[in-house]
């Protein structure tokens, strides 16, 4: 982003190419450079007496013959323009986000607030407050965004949001538009109102107890994508590269240290990683067609902040005595908030590109600006008015009453459509919808889980998987379920409960998980129960010794016992077989038996959700506690 020398404004974000000289300065017929606006501009320039321009506008000839007398801001001030400060802020928060993802791991946690971005996300806090009527644990931190947004507008979108930064960066990096096209593409369009419709639907669903913001909340998308697609992909490549380097005798220590998930035997795999990966590729790729497509069209967090920003006390103000209606301010407008005309406050990302781009110094970020129509006299505060467009704002989001009504009806109908899916119903819950230990009862779980997949990120064994449509329909999509073929629930581990920002998995201690000390009367937390498939179990069905399951069963006494029998095998040899069985009172459903079972495809011992201690509907034994 090196356009500092051009002076006219850092286009950091959506177009690094130098600005064309403001043709208005030296009008050449037929070469105005701004289609449609050129003639207007020319006529204006002829009507209005010339006014000294800021000297840093590089394409201008120096105002005086002696360049030393030219007014010039000091170098450091030009370098630390507000837009540059903004880029530094974006880089910092993006880096912080990646750092948090990187330390979301057993050996690195050390009390870092790894879910901080989710905890300050007001959409998470508000939506869970709607569905649960409470604000869980660290979600109180969302106030640090809500209050400044009420004062300053949607600054989060262009100063902090890591997903916004990603979109802006990619849009900037692969931008091929000429300036003239940028002005056209960065104007407001009605489709940008879609995000408000989505937000209203999400809020109505939350009101009924179905929390779906996580499908599109940018912070949830970021965490989920890093957890299931980016980190595994990076680790696989870096680990392979490191081993190649080491084989060639080169030290690859730095590469090994950079791994997101060190100390694992198998590459981490996730159900539907392809889909999560394609979604981010697709959404990021959309920046080539419409800049900030996700932020402008889909982002429910942006929509919520847009609602808040109607109260903002500061906004972009346009000085009608300076503005020449040249539209350059639109060319790098991130939010498509129309700073050249009636400013859409709910769309403005407070990126300050417009201020930077304005060759006339007509734009500023002001406290309580007054709306101004061009007065008949053509004078404002004693100076001649140049702009033909009134200085005004559109404070509220683009959501008419009729649309709101339709949207509300749609939301009200969507709820039963989702909830009547069999999979999320107590009557037909999926046997493999096994929730991590500490999870609240399923109905409450769906009120709380935002599908951010931080639990998957931190899970050391890879057992936590994003639910596919199979286990929970659309409503449960990407919520955490345990797949014991891929991993198992490690006995002494409660990390998923530590990082969960919304209390879908409540923070529990190891003592509570295992039912030790003061929790002894409650017994251990069970996530399910193991079953044997005697038709596939080697000692039961195939006259072959095995019992890995008994060996690895971590509870004491073991929840897997064996009937030891001597049999005469088909070939006449005498063999001792330890035929395993489950002691259901002792089984906690950790699934290490299923994970280690050598019948690799359809395991001969497997865990299902029945018997989990969080739900009466899914209990198995009359007496579930250890006898």
């Amino acid at each position: 982003m090196s356009c500092g020398g051009k002076g006219g404004g850092c286009s950091c974000g959506s177009g690094g190419d130098p600005k064309p000289p403001a043709n208005a300065a030296q009008p050449a017929p037929g070469n105005t450079g701004l289609d449609g606006n050129g003639p207007e501009l020319l006529s204006l320039m002829q009507r209005v007496p010339a006014r000294p321009r800021p000297a840093y506008f590089a394409s201008d000839p120096p105002p005086s013959a002696d360049p030393k007398t030219a007014r010039k801001a000091p170098g450091w001030m030009r370098f630390f323009r507000i837009t540059r400060v903004r880029v530094i802020s974006q880089a910092f928060f993006f880096g912080l986000f990646l750092f948090f993802c990187w330390v979301t791991w057993f050996s690195r946690l050390e009390g870092y607030p790894v879910s901080l971005f989710l905890e300050i996300d007001p959409l998470v806090a508000v939506a869970t407050a709607i569905s649960t009527h409470t604000v869980y644990r660290n979600l109180l931190w969302s106030l640090v965004l809500i209050i400044p947004t009420l004062v300053l507008g949607r600054f989060f979108c262009n100063w902090m949001c890591p997903y916004g930064t990603l979109h802006q960066f990619i849009g900037w990096l692969f931008n091929t538009r000429r300036n003239i096209d940028k002005v056209a593409i960065n104007r407001y369009r009605p489709i940008f109102g879609l995000k408000y419709i989505l937000l209203v639907i999400f809020f109505i669903l939350a009101l009924f107890g179905s929390l779906q913001i996580g499908l599109l909340d940018p912070i949830c998308i970021m965490y989920r994508t890093v957890a299931t697609a980016i980190a595994p992909a990076y680790d696989l490549s870096a680990d392979t590269l490191a081993s190649r380097m080491e084989n060639a005798g080169v030290d690859a220590g730095f590469l090994r240290a950079s791994l997101f998930r060190p100390g694992i035997t198998d590459p981490r795999i996730f159900y539907g990683a392809w889909f999560v990966g394609l979604v981010i590729l697709g959404l990021v790729g959309m920046n080539l067609i419409i800049p900030r497509f996700f932020c402008r069209v889909l982002c429910p967090l942006g929509a919520f902040l847009g609602f808040l920003s109607r109260f903002a006390l500061w906004r972009i103000d346009r000085d009608l005595t300076r503005c020449t209606d040249c539209n350059l301010c639109v060319s790098h407008c991130e939010g498509a908030s129309d700073p050249h005309a009636a400013l859409r406050k709910s769309e403005c990302f407070v990126c300050f590109n417009c201020i930077d781009d304005c060759p006339e110094d007509a734009l500023s970020f002001r406290f309580l600006p007054v709306r101004k129509h061009a007065p008949a006299a053509g004078l404002l505060f004693g100076r001649p008015v140049i702009s033909k467009r009134a200085e005004t704002e559109i404070p509220a989001p683009d959501l008419s009453r009729r649309r709101l009504l339709f949207t509300s009806v749609a939301g009200v109908l969507a709820y039963p459509f989702l909830r009547l899916s069999a999979a999320v119903n107590p009557g037909a819950f999926h046997a493999k919808a096994i929730r991590p230990p500490g999870s609240v009862e399923e109905t409450e779980f769906l009120e709380r889980c935002i599908k951010c997949d931080q639990c998957l990120n931190v899970c050391p064994t890879n057992v936590l998987q994003p639910s596919t449509l199979k286990q929970g329909g659309l409503e449960g999509l990407w919520t955490p379920v345990m797949d014991m073929r891929i991993g198992f629930c490690q006995l002494n581990c409660t990390l998923c409960s530590e990082v969960c920002p919304t209390g879908a998995i409540q923070k529990i201690s190891v003592e509570k998980k295992l039912g030790l000390k003061q929790f002894a009367p409650d017994g251990p937390i069970r996530v399910g129960t193991a079953f044997f498939d005697r038709g596939r179990c080697l000692p039961w069905a195939m006259e072959t010794p095995c019992v890995v399951c008994e060996e690895v069963c971590p509870v004491s006494p073991k929840a897997i016992g064996t009937y030891d029998v001597q049999i005469k095998r088909w070939d006449g040899k005498m063999v001792t077989l330890n035929r395993p069985y489950i002691r259901p009172e002792l089984c906690i459903g950790c699934g290490i038996c299923e994970h280690e079972c050598p019948v690799a495809d359809e395991r001969a011992v497997y865990v299902t959700a029945v018997g989990e201690s969080r739900s009466k509907d899914r209990s198995l034994l009359l007496r579930s506690k250890e006898t």
Binding site: P545, C546, P557, P598
Partner: protein, 343 residues
């Protein structure tokens, strides 16, 4: 554009002809591309499909044993509470640390870190004994000491919870956790069941001495897990098949790894519910450390003396199989052994 006269001859105006240089350049390029296609395809040809199959490089482990010291015992047994002094005594009995470890050696120590358990549950090697061992090895002049294992449960958690990671780091050793790329195909000539198996190779690069240090544990399937079974933790792949013939697997492990020496860590003995344990009542203090140049003798001794299973007929079958294959002797009563109370 003027429509061409259909009857006009379709000849080209000589002014449109390419120059000789242009003609040669373009025809030459096309000819080169067409001509290259054949040889490239010929070089890549694979008529039977055999060439296209991936070749799997294999490696072999060296024998890490050293010649026995004169008048040295096979078993050095130390009783007591002071681990470093006990180790000194026990290793002294089998030849002394200076006999096994020379200046500049790169030494790999293999503890048992299979489970995510705190040390007092006895499911893993005692971290204090490990630290004392590392100290002795470094004192003997080792250039580098490495500690490695491929646990059953999540490696980082196992190494942390068992105290092994802290003990190793504190004593100045380097800890190797597995990564997907750290396994290579090991060839074990003569092995019955694992002639080729993925092996945790990365930490073995450049190593010339190997020491095993294993706790004494009850085992649900193979009766007891001690120094021989400990090498299981260096393998990767589908280890869960091993239980179908566990005794022959453990005998293969004895063949696979010929260590410099082994330590049988009898400071905590898991008498039941093994190999995972999980309850303090499964464990008793054993107050014993054994150094051995013969794994089988050490395990047979531990089975009798520490697990308290006195009948020789109850001994794990793998000891007999390995002995039958000439990998050592389980007749611990008749090997040279030295026992001492330390402190």
């Amino acid at each position: 554009m003027r429509k061409q006269n259909a009857s006009a001859p379709r000849t080209r105006d000589p002014s449109e002809w390419p120059s000789r240089r242009e003609f040669l350049r373009r025809v030459g390029l096309t000819a080169a591309a067409a001509g290259a296609a054949g040889p490239i395809w010929w070089a890549l040809r694979d008529p039977t499909g055999e060439r296209g199959k991936p070749s799997e490089p294999v490696f072999r482990l060296r024998n890490y044993q050293v010649d026995p010291a004169p008048n040295a015992s096979v078993l050095g047994i130390a009783r007591g509470e002071q681990y470093e002094a006990m180790l000194r005594m026990a290793i002294g009995a089998i030849g002394g640390i200076g006999h096994f470890i020379r200046k500049g050696d790169v030494v790999l120590i293999k503890p048992n870190v299979a489970f995510d358990r705190s040390p007092k549950l006895g499911a893993t090697s005692n971290p204090e004994v490990l630290a004392a061992l590392i100290h002795l090895v470094r004192e003997a002049g080792a250039a580098e000491v490495r500690v490695a294992d491929n646990p059953i449960e999540s490696p980082e958690n196992c190494f942390q919870k068992s105290g092994i990671a802290d003990a190793a780091h504190g004593a100045g050793a380097r800890v190797y956790l597995p990564a997907p790329s750290s396994f290579e195909m090991l060839e074990v000539p003569g092995a019955k069941l694992i002639p080729r198996w993925p092996f945790f190779y990365l930490p073995f690069r450049g190593v010339n001495k190997v020491i095993g240090i294993a706790p004494v544990k009850d085992h649900n399937l193979c009766s007891a897990s001690m120094t021989t079974k400990n090498w299981y933790g260096l393998l990767g792949g589908r280890r869960n098949q091993f239980h179908q013939d566990i005794h022959n697997i453990i005998a293969d492990l004895a063949l696979m790894m010929r260590p410099t020496f082994v330590i049988l860590d009898g400071t905590r003995v898991m008498l039941k519910n093994g190999p995972t344990g999980g309850d303090l009542s499964d464990v008793v203090p054993g107050r014993t450390l054994v150094a051995a140049t013969d794994m089988l003798a050490a395990d047979a001794f531990g089975f009798h003396d520490l697990l308290g299973r006195k009948a020789d007929s109850d001994r794990p079958e793998y000891l007999a199989i390995a002995e039958g294959r000439g990998l050592g002797t389980q007749d611990w009563r008749n090997v040279a052994r030295k026992e001492e109370q330390v402190g």
